[in-house]
Symmetry: C2
Subunit: 508 residues, 2 copies
């Protein structure tokens, strides 16, 4: 081998090596590019319902989501606003109604509320399976596994050992792609019914619509279906009443046409509607929505960790972090924002209290009228006013922050709700007089205890039964879920199992 050949060889080897390194670098960059631009597959098929499984791919998002655990305060709204127990007499909300807590508590709160009762086995208890619909990524997993009709058939207790992970990743993200998407079919159907072309939904739209899967008005529509064995069953399918539009009056017309009622009022006998939480609907009437702002823009601001930008999943009150939320668009001091929002809240609180007082008094006066022998014909216009007025009131305030999302629409609705309640009371004064009672003063409903007594809520019995349920069937559910690998036992750690009634002393 001569020297020049050696040099040539060495050069060639170096060149080949360098090319190899370059190719390797190109390949690894291409892999990196793919990784950055493609969400990882958390689970190859179906729905990855355990939030913990998303941690390895989305550690920042997961950690911020877990911060919702800190939003753990129980605020007993029946104690703060006892009128509610009168207004909802005969319905679950008169039993127990708290201000919302973080997403982390969705399962715990659903189990703890006295509204879901104390089942002793999979086929009893007051509530249908539909009551789980918005509580957990186990819901889309189950819908995927058993079908939507089967999911919506049966009692709430049917899925006690299946639905165990609180609202989390797979509620809004596809487990194969990580992309935002609907996990609940009811929203897509409702959007189509209200004229939306699903193919034209943008990413920015989606940053609102994934929230709108749950933060909306809905009802449980009885739907007949036939199972594989040919047996006819009735599913109670979560349905959004959007076919006539999204306003309170549109939905009222929808429900009226369908002769739908949620319950018959225990005191006034009015055929009532219960608004759930039409947050998306009210938001869409407000100035932020009109300017293209999404839910996530304010409730899930972008955050920075080192060089990584991510979305904060500690969904809560944007006022907790004005610098990352309001101030990204508006120029003003934090104080100015707080004062402005406070005055909006104050106005709504005033009109809300006014309407609640009117409606509660009207229900009690209607009860008295029945007691004195009022006729169906006399009472019919009163009951219609009560149904309509209370619906408008409920629609306007049942969702988070309606006073901010759409302050003018909220105030308008509260004004009209109160007017209808007032008109019912004017009629009732005449009906009562007709039956010999002039100037009737309704009984005192100024405390939760007094109001629940008037509403006939057997609170102590409900608590006793709930406690028995929690120490038996609930423990069994959790054990089964852990054993089957559906629940990470760590999820239950450090949960104080708080409720409005855990400190209530029971009389012997």
């Amino acid at each position: 081998m001569n020297k020049s050949y050696k040099i040539l060889l060495t050069g060639s080897v170096i060149a080949i090596g360098a090319m190899g390194l370059m190719a390797n670098s190109i390949n690894s960059r291409e892999a990196e590019r793919k990784e950055i631009n493609t969400g990882p597959v958390v689970q190859a098929e179906g729905v990855a319902s355990k939030n913990e499984e998303w941690y390895r791919y989305y550690p920042r998002e997961y950690d911020s989501w877990k911060q919702t655990k800190k939003s753990d305060k129980i605020t007993d709204l029946l104690r703060e606003k006892p009128q509610l127990a009168i207004i909802w007499a005969g319905y679950g909300f008169a039993k127990d109604y708290n201000a919302p807590r973080g997403h982390f508590y969705a399962i715990q709160d659903n189990i703890n509320t006295l509204r879901t009762g104390a089942p002793t086995g999979p086929s009893n208890g007051p509530m249908p399976t539909a009551c789980w619909t918005c509580k957990s990524p186990d819901v889309p997993r189950l819908m995927d596994e058993v079908g939507e009709n089967e999911f919506f058939t049966g009692k709430w207790a049917k899925y006690g050992n299946q639905i165990v992970n609180p609202i989390g990743c797979a509620d809004c993200h596809n487990s194969q792609t990580g992309n935002l998407g609907f996990s609940r079919p009811h929203l897509g159907r409702a959007l189509e019914a209200s004229g939306v072309n699903l193919d034209e939904i943008t990413f920015q739209d989606m940053r609102t619509l994934v929230c709108a899967q749950c933060h909306v008005e809905y009802y449980f529509r009885p739907t007949e279906w036939t199972d594989k064995t040919g047996k006819t069953k009735t599913a109670k399918v979560v349905t959004l009443p959007w076919a006539k539009g999204l306003s309170a009056e549109n939905m009222e017309e929808y429900y009226d046409e369908y002769s739908f009622k949620d319950w018959t009022h225990k005191i006034s006998k009015a055929p009532m509607l219960k608004a759930q939480h039409p947050g998306y609907e009210l938001f869409s009437k407000g100035i932020h929505a009109q300017n293209g702002v999404s839910c996530a823009d304010c409730h899930m601001p972008y955050k920075q960790q080192g060089s990584i930008k991510y979305t904060d999943h500690n969904i809560g009150n944007p006022l907790d972090d004005i610098a990352s939320t309001c101030l990204t668009c508006h120029r003003d001091s934090e104080k100015a924002f707080r004062d402005r929002v406070a005055s909006k809240l104050e106005r709504k609180e005033q009109l809300m209290k006014m309407a609640m007082d009117t409606l509660a008094a009207a229900h009690l006066e209607a009860g008295k009228a029945w007691e004195l022998g009022a006729t169906e014909a006399e009472m019919q216009p009163v009951l219609e006013l009560l149904r309509s007025g209370q619906w408008l009131w409920d629609y306007s305030i049942a969702s988070h922050g309606s006073f901010f999302h759409s302050p003018e629409e909220t105030l308008r609705l509260l004004g009209v709700a109160n007017d209808k309640g007032g008109k019912a009371r004017i009629k009732l004064a005449a009906i009562l007089a007709q039956h010999g009672l002039i100037g009737y003063q309704v009984p005192d409903f100024s405390t939760k205890e007094k109001a629940q007594a008037l509403a006939g809520v057997p609170l102590q019995k409900l608590i006793t039964e709930k406690k028995a349920f929690e120490s038996t069937l609930l423990e069994q559910w959790n054990e089964e879920a852990v054993k089957a690998g559906r629940l990470d036992p760590k999820t239950l750690e450090g949960m104080s199992n708080k409720s409005s009634w855990s400190q209530t002393e029971l009389s012997q």
Copy 2:
């Protein structure tokens, strides 16, 4: 003379000439600078009340001001909203009430309205001199000449031949400097009473406050004074009730403490308050004021004529020129603005109608209760609710565009106003029943004619008298004013002398 001397001389002459020209140029530039930076003296002393006199210095502003003559449509609000005649029964507004027209018609409308009656000489007629206060730059001229107490003493007809120029230049501009300034002392006093340091008012503040001289709530406070001859007289002094604050509730408290009433309601006998037009007060609760926007920013946008920038004095609806108003700050389409404003108006119209219907029915029911022998003690709480509810209603809608200036405050107030009216009606249903009448239906007030008949308005008599006044005393006033050089006769040219009643056929 040698040649070099000649050259020297010629050079010197040229240099001196050039220096002279330069000095002249410097002087004329200095004069120009002064002229640009100093408003001209329209009149050496006192108030230049004839708007025509300002034309030579401010031709663009004058011409744009004169465009307010085009805003000449008469909208009879008693015809559009007949409830008003019931609500104001016993007070001037039940006689005649139109939507506002351009500043140019301030005098004509004040003379034409049936509210100012038909005086036959300087010391009779229903109204005090105070009713001229906001109508003309002749008012500050007169106050300057006779003193404020003398101005506010006597009947409206006292100044019929003095107050002849419609709202114009000297209402907001100083005749010696052209600067913005208060021409009415009541505003300065009210600002001081509400804690404002007048020395800290900025130019931008002034672009709102000159409007606030008139677009505010006020009342005529009886004030004793002694004239030069030692005679004690009572002036009715325009006073802004701001000492407790600017909200509706603040002012209500002020009036209650002072046991003030504007009139006793003819049907219900309630001691009523009439809101004037608290536009500044409501505006100051809204988002535009909170962001430092002035009245002039939207109602008097800057315009360009060649290289000259001037302020448009054709004060009217900013929606007539969205490009020069809203769009200087906001980015959106004109259509988006129109739709947004329309929905604000719609909400306010709904709650306003609701409250008016409730209040009108309550007044009529109260009238029936008195008729059936209700006692003062029974009626007292009803009358208090009527006074308070109607005040809140009136405060919320009496000014221009409250639905836009402060939509949330307007809706809140309408909701509370309606609630108070409703509570009065509930009490009245019991009082009527107590006096043997159950389920009373109030008489029909669905047209202006029906409502005015219920309110006891002698419309034909009022029109006949007004026509007589206009063909006698009014003509005399105008002749005297022209003769004394206080009125340019051209001002009256082309005025169609429109009113709500000019086309009303009188029965023989």
